[in-house]
Amino acid sequence: MEILNDADLVSRIASKGDIQAEAELCRRMGHRIRLYGLKHLRNTEAADDLMQQVLLTMIEALRAGKLRDPEKLASFVLGTCRMTVLDTRRNAQRREKLLGEFGLQSLRPVALTMPDLDEQRLAGCVQSLKERERTVVILTFYDEQSGADVGRFLGVTEANVRVIRHRAVRQLRGCMGAVA
């Protein structure tokens, strides 16, 4: 298939019911929706469920010609993602309550996993950071402490924490070979 942009694919699906266009759009959007899910749900299985649900809703809407402006696909997908995450959270709260009531700890989802990274190199890169930068990075990424909490520990403002974090992440990206 020739390289088409997302809006072209949307038009083909709506006007011709193009199955190849559907497959290509699902491939592209699935990847992005999964990232959205990982960010908001912090769980790979939940992110995969979100991706499947949003793609189904998207294809259903496109086939029915409900998306009038193909350029608005990202907005439509974002709206669907938000609604689906809200539903997921409501269900999760209910599930947590039941897990608590019945004590079924083994049913809890596994922790987030991501694509492989050169772990040895990353360890060297993190260890080469200045002490305050390393602490900020670990407290932020591992512990998910807020900038305000980290700032209280370091005796600096939240804005300073952000500056330290940015400097550290830029150095880490450079050390890992990414363009800063």
Binding site: I3, H31, L35, K130, E131, L139
Partner: protein, 191 residues
């Protein structure tokens, strides 16, 4: 199909950490959901974040941590082996296969210190490494030093001295405390 207005890596990092205002967060999401380049860049940020989480969870870094960090680690079910030491004091220590974090709680009067270094020395007091300008809470009565659990589990029996030093420009370093750790290996390994 390259992006004409690529999202900055720091903006994506703030997004991933939930540090953006709701409107900015929505703008980022609307952009990357429609952009292959920026979603790929976001995946890089997510992978880095996941790598750091894993690294920190393995406790293989030598660093200073906060009391809050340890509290949260304990809440996650991590087993923390902690040795409190007074200035001038020594402690018999070890580490077992079940331990997840190894912490030296170095008691010190930190009031008035603007910069503090942690000097790690051999048993004769010769400096082997230095953590310069460590983060510390001036209102606290101690510094929480995380030793690499990977290193500690492999280390032979022996002694190590840690020194907390208050450092000021054009003034000699002032020792806030010296702490001796006498490690006894309880796990099998090379001599």
């Amino acid at each position: 199909m390259s992006c004409a207005n690529p999202l900055d890596a720091m903006l994506l990092t703030d997004y991933w950490l939930g540090a953006l205002a709701p409107d900015d967060e929505m703008r980022v999401e609307e952009h990357f959901l429609g952009c292959a380049d920026c979603s790929a860049a976001l995946e890089g940020v997510a992978a880095l974040a996941a790598g750091i989480r894993k690294l920190a969870g393995e406790a293989s870094l030598t660093m200073i941590v906060s009391q809050e960090f340890l509290r949260r680690a304990a809440d996650k079910g991590m087993r923390i082996r902690e040795y409190p030491v007074a200035p001038g004091g020594s402690v018999q220590c070890t580490v077992t296969p079940e331990d997840d974090f190894l912490i030296g709680r170095l008691a010190a009067d930190l009031r008035g210190a603007s910069r503090v270094d942690l000097s790690i020395c051999d048993e004769h007091g010769i400096e082997l490494a230095r953590l310069a300008d460590i983060p510390f809470d001036a209102g606290s009565d101690s510094v929480m030093w995380q030793q690499s659990i990977t290193y500690a589990k492999a280390a032979a029996s022996g002694s190590m001295v840690a020194r907390l030093l208050a450092v000021q420009e054009s003034v000699r370093e002032r020792v806030l405390g010296e702490y001796t750790f006498i490690h006894t290996r309880t796990m099998p390994g090379p001599k």
